[in-house]
């Protein structure tokens, strides 16, 4: 990782790290192989625009997300970072009127090709939401929910998965004696770790996290951040966060999104301003908007 730092920066600078978002897609041939010693790219988004009915929420986002890394999406409210996140496992399909233009490739397969089942997509790409949303079921049944819908019925196997997932989510010791109590009885931080355990139980390839700590206190946040560092050895994580310190603490790469206003037509849309190594985004941003945001002069 350390020794690869140099060439990653070099690579990203020559390929994706250009000051203007408009230039992002044009500089690299569409089929350019992604060379990155830290891992293969898991997602390749190309010119993704997302509409809610006639409103273009996000315009022309192109970025690659790499294996076993934590990628953070930061930016002011309304810049479309959550919307972009939700294109990665087709959660936007659930929003009436939502439409995606452009394409997202997941390990070489197009997510939006005709015939692609969002169900199959989501079984590989899990999601943790902003507000902890445990099911009104027992703690055990919450974690076993995913494996069960994948057809695992064997009690011993389920027990094993539940324990492993809860351990991974650093919750096992707190709940092992009350697995049959309601998941709604947990504190906010515990409930969010339960939701993470529930996501990990289906052994996804990627975990998307939409501001997973925004409802939590610093201690609970710290636990979840530690947890992210541990599980990134096995998973690829994309996290949306409003907390820039969190982005610097946990992420390997950071994508900064912003709102582009068109004064003439009085419309606004989210754009990807800058994407690169987290250290570079925060210490040496190439775009003045990124600089303004990360230094706290805007947003």
């Amino acid at each position: 990782m350390e020794q690869s730092e140099q060439n990653i920066v070099a690579q990203t600078e020559t390929t994706t790290e250009l000051p203007k978002p408009a230039a992002l897609q044009d500089t690299r041939p569409a089929d350019a192989p992604v060379r990155d010693t830290s891992g293969a790219s898991v997602f390749e988004s190309k010119n993704v625009s997302i509409y809610y009915s006639s409103f273009r929420a996000v315009t022309d986002v192109s970025l690659n997300i790499y294996e076993n890394e934590i990628t953070a999406f930061i930016g002011p409210s309304g810049c479309g970072k959550t919307t972009v996140l939700r294109t990665l496992n087709r959660m936007n399909d659930l929003v009436p009127g939502a439409r995606v233009e452009g394409d997202v490739h997941y390990r070489g397969a197009s997510l939006y090709a005709p015939g692609v089942s969002p169900i199959s997509v989501r079984r590989r790409i899990g999601m943790v939401f902003q507000k902890p949303n445990p099911f009104p079921k027992s703690i055990y049944d919450n974690v076993a929910y995913g494996p069960r819908i994948n057809g695992i019925r064997n009690r011993g196997k389920l027990d094993e998965i539940v324990e492993r997932s809860l351990r991974q989510a650093a919750l096992w010791d707190e709940v092992k004696n009350r697995l049959n109590k309601s998941g709604l009885g947990l504190s906010g931080g515990q409930a969010q770790r339960l939701c993470i355990a529930r996501t990990l139980a289906v052994e996804p390839d990627v975990v998307l996290m939409d501001e997973p700590c925004s409802a939590l206190d610093p201690i609970a946040t710290g636990r979840i951040e530690d947890l992210m560092h541990e599980i990134k050895l096995q998973y690829t994580i994309v996290i949306v966060t409003h907390n820039m310190q969190q982005a610097t603490r946990v992420s390997d790469r950071t994508a900064f999104y912003s709102v582009l206003r068109d004064e003439k037509s009085d419309t606004r849309t989210g754009v990807l301003v800058e994407y690169g190594r987290t250290a570079q985004i925060f210490e040496d941003p190439q775009d003045s908007r990124t600089q303004a945001y990360v230094t706290g002069r805007m947003g």
Binding site: L94, P118, R122, F129, N133, F135, P136, S138, Y145, S182
Partner: protein, 298 residues
């Protein structure tokens, strides 16, 4: 700090006198009054039915058969034909209306969205709520009884038609209350829509759906009008709901209460108390069963 520098007067944190306080009092009194007004008729009905019916009810009254001729005083025969008829006909109506109504509500809320079909079904079901119950009876009379004769089944059809819109509306409102984040959590684990509905949405709404269904059942169990033209009123037990005239507690109350004989009137009161008791037991039983399924919801 502790010296309280200047002897400043402590702020008055009591509720200020004036209009706001009076308003609060008036509203509180009105609420209590409304509660009392609601309880009075309910209490009187219950009191009268218990006072007049309690002495009539006995094991023989509940299980004896046939229902004796009107002229006989209380103590002869029993209400078993009516108890059986009510249980069978209401049960059958429940089997028809509740699954259909819940499925309809699921379609309206989970699948139909805002398309024209679900708007139409929702509207028609609301209109159906306002149809007088005797019209339902006449409707079943003309499309079923005229061809196949009187039967418990015909009565169940009529009661089912009455229950259906109530079940649809109450279930729909309950499903609407299920928060979307729960659905999303399930979808994000790769669940299909059917599975999200069956394993997350329905269980979360179950308590409310059961309440709505119970209201519908209780209403149907107490209906007389739709049964007049569909089951007739007979005096012997007819366990076969699919053919032959039948009877029910409300029909029996109706026919007994319009008699000049005290024996018949007494049996009417007894039947009324029996009906109330059956509904009461049903409610309790359903609550106990639902509590088992919704124990994780709080």
């Amino acid at each position: 700090m502790t010296a309280m520098a200047a002897p400043r007067e402590a702020p008055d944190l009591r509720e200020p006198k004036g209009w706001r306080r009076s308003k609060n009092r008036i509203m509180t009194v009105l609420m209590v009054l409304a509660f009392v007004l609601t309880i009075i008729p309910l209490g009187f009905v219950l009191f009268t039915v218990i006072a007049k019916g309690a002495s009539i009810i006995s094991w023989q009254f509940l299980t004896g058969s046939p229902i004796p001729p009107n002229v006989l005083p209380a103590g002869f025969g029993g209400m078993w034909p009516a108890v059986l008829g009510t249980l069978l006909i209401t049960g059958l109506a429940t089997l028809m209306a509740v699954p259909l109504g819940v499925l309809g509500a699921i379609y309206l809320n989970e699948y139909g969205g805002r398309n024209w079909l679900s708007a139409l079904i929702g509207f028609m079901s609301d209109v159906m709520t306002g149809v007088p119950s005797i019209v339902m009876g006449l409707f079943i009379f003309s499309i079923w009884v005229l061809h196949f004769g009187y039967s418990g089944l015909a009565g169940a059809f009529a009661l089912g038609c009455l229950m259906l819109p109530v079940v649809i509306r109450s279930s729909y409102e309950m499903l609407r209350l299920v928060p979307d984040p729960l659905r999303e959590a399930s979808y994000a684990l790769g669940a299909t829509k059917a599975r999200v509905t069956m394993t997350v949405v329905l269980p979360a709404a179950l308590g409310g759906i059961v309440s709505g269904a119970l209201l519908a059942i209780a209403r149907a169990a107490g209906e007389t009008a739709p049964l007049l033209f569909t089951i007739l009123t007979v005096t012997t037990a007819n366990p076969n709901v699919f053919s032959g005239a039948n009877t029910s507690l409300p029909s029996q109350i109706f026919s007994n209460a319009s008699q000049p004989y005290t024996g018949a009137q007494d049996r009417g009161w007894g039947a009324a108390l029996t009906l109330i008791a059956i509904c009461f037991i049903l409610m309790i039983a359903a609550r106990i069963v639902t509590a088992r399924f919704t124990r994780y919801s709080r």
